[in-house]
Symmetry: C2
C-alpha cells in the first residue's frame, strides 16, 4: 500500500522543480519499465497496479489510461561533455515534449550517440518526453549546455556545424560530412542568432508544393529527413 | 455577446459526434483563421476576443492559452474519389491527432494533392489535427475510404502500392516510381493484414543504431523520410 504522502511525492515528479529536488523521474508501461531495468539507470522502485491497487495507480499515473506498471528512476549525474569525431545533433530551444521525444527516438535510430540541447530546451525526464522517446532517453546521451559554445568547439576541432534555415542551400545538393554537428531550431523561431553565426553550413529541405504550401515543417519531421539524408549518403 | 447556448454549441465541436451533426469545425489563431478565409472553405463566423470578451473566448477555446481569434468553418462535402496518375499517400488507421496533422503538413510540403485515410483514422477536423496541420487541412484533399479497395484501384491502374514494413527492403536501395500510393500504418500495429496483401512493394527505413536501438520510428517521422526520398529521387 502507498501512503498519501508517497502518492503525492510520485505525482509531484510531473514537475521539473520536483524532479530536480528529488533527482528522480517516472516511467510508465511494461515496455518502458523493462527498458529502464535493462539500462544503466538506477531504478529506485517499481509499482504494479496489482500490488498498489487501481485507485493509487490512477492517481500517480500521468497517462489518461494508467498503465499496469510504473517505475521510479534516479536521474543520472549530468553527462560529461566529450566530443570525439562523429556525427552529433544539437537542439536549440526545443520546447514541445512530443517533438523532443520523437527527436531522441530518431537520434537513437540513426546512431547518434549524443544530443546537445540548449539549457532552455524541454527536460528529457518530462513524462511526455519519456513516453514519446519510447525508451531512447535510456540509450541516447543528452547534454544540456551552452549550444553556441559547443558549436565553437566543433569548429575548433575542424568539424562542420550544419544549421537548418529557411534560406539555406538544398539538403539534396549539398555535400555532407560524416562528422560534425547538425543543429535544429526552436518550433516557432528557428535557430537563435547566437547559434546561427556559428553555423558553417546552412541547409534547407526543398518544398515540392504546387502553389502555396506550408511555411515550414515540424522540427521532428525535419530532423527525420536530415538524419536520413546524412546516414544514407555518408 | 455570445449566449450560453452558443458557447455550448461551439464547445461541443471538439467532439466528432457534434462536428458530424452540425457539419462544422473550429480553427483557432490568427494564422489558421487567415488560412481558412483564403481557402475554398466556407467560414460561417469569426469570433475575436476583443469583441466577445476574454471569458467567452477562454470557454470556447480548446487551447490552454486561448488565441485572440477563432473561426467556425463549414465542413466541405465528402471529397470525390478521383485517382489520376501521380503520387499519393494512404493512411491505415492513424489514430494520434498530432501525427495526422504533421503528416498532412508533410503531404502539403511534398506536393501530395490527396491523402486516402482508412475510415478508422482520426478525423481531420479534430481540433488537435487542425492545429498540428498548420493550415494544410485546407490545401491537402483527404478522402476517408476503404483503403484496401483503393490499393486495388491503384494496382488495376497499373500503379505501385508501397507499404512500410519492419521486414521490407531498404528504402535507399529500392527503385521508386513517381506515381503510386505510399501506405503508412497504425502507430502500434502497422499496416493491417487486408491492406498488406495489396502492397506491391515493401519498404523499410534502415536503422543505423549501434547495438540495441528503438524497435520502430514514429509514423510521422517515417512519413517524412519516405516522402523526402521519393521526391528527391524522382
Amino acid at each position: 500500500m502507498l501512503t498519501n504522502a508517497e502518492i503525492k511525492r510520485l505525482k509531484s515528479l510531473r514537475e521539473k522543480k520536483f524532479r530536480d529536488e528529488y533527482g528522480q523521474f517516472v516511467v510508465e508501461g511494461e515496455k518502458l519499465v523493462q527498458e529502464a531495468l535493462e539500462s544503466g539507470f538506477e531504478v529506485s522502485a517499481v509499482y504494479r497496479e496489482c500490488e498498489i491497487g487501481t485507485e493509487a495507480m490512477s492517481r500517480i499515473s500521468s497517462l489518461s489510461s494508467p498503465s499496469p506498471v510504473l517505475a521510479l528512476v534516479n536521474k543520472p549525474a549530468p553527462r560529461k561533455l566529450e566530443i570525439e569525431r562523429g556525427l552529433y545533433l544539437g537542439l536549440d530551444s526545443i520546447r514541445d515534449p512530443g517533438n523532443m521525444g520523437t527527436i531522441l527516438r530518431l537520434a537513437d535510430w540513426f546512431g547518434i550517440s549524443t544530443v546537445f540541447a540548449s539549457i532552455d530546451s524541454v527536460e528529457i525526464y518530462n513524462p511526455k518526453v519519456v513516453q514519446a522517446s519510447m525508451g531512447s532517453i535510456f540509450r541516447v546521451k543528452t547534454v544540456y549546455c551552452d549550444l553556441a559554445e559547443i558549436c565553437r568547439r566543433f569548429r575548433i576541432a575542424d568539424m562542420p556545424v550544419y544549421g537548418t534555415f529557411l534560406d539555406g542551400a538544398s539538403l539534396y545538393g549539398t555535400s555532407l560530412c560524416d562528422e560534425g554537428l547538425i543543429v535544429m531550431g526552436n518550433e516557432a523561431n528557428g535557430i537563435s542568432s547566437e547559434v546561427r553565426s556559428e553555423c558553417s553550413s546552412r541547409l534547407f529541405i526543398p518544398s515540392f508544393a504546387k502553389g502555396k504550401g506550408p511555411e515550414s515543417l515540424n522540427v521532428a519531421a525535419a530532423t527525420a529527413i536530415i538524419l536520413s539524408e546524412f546516414r544514407r549518403r555518408v
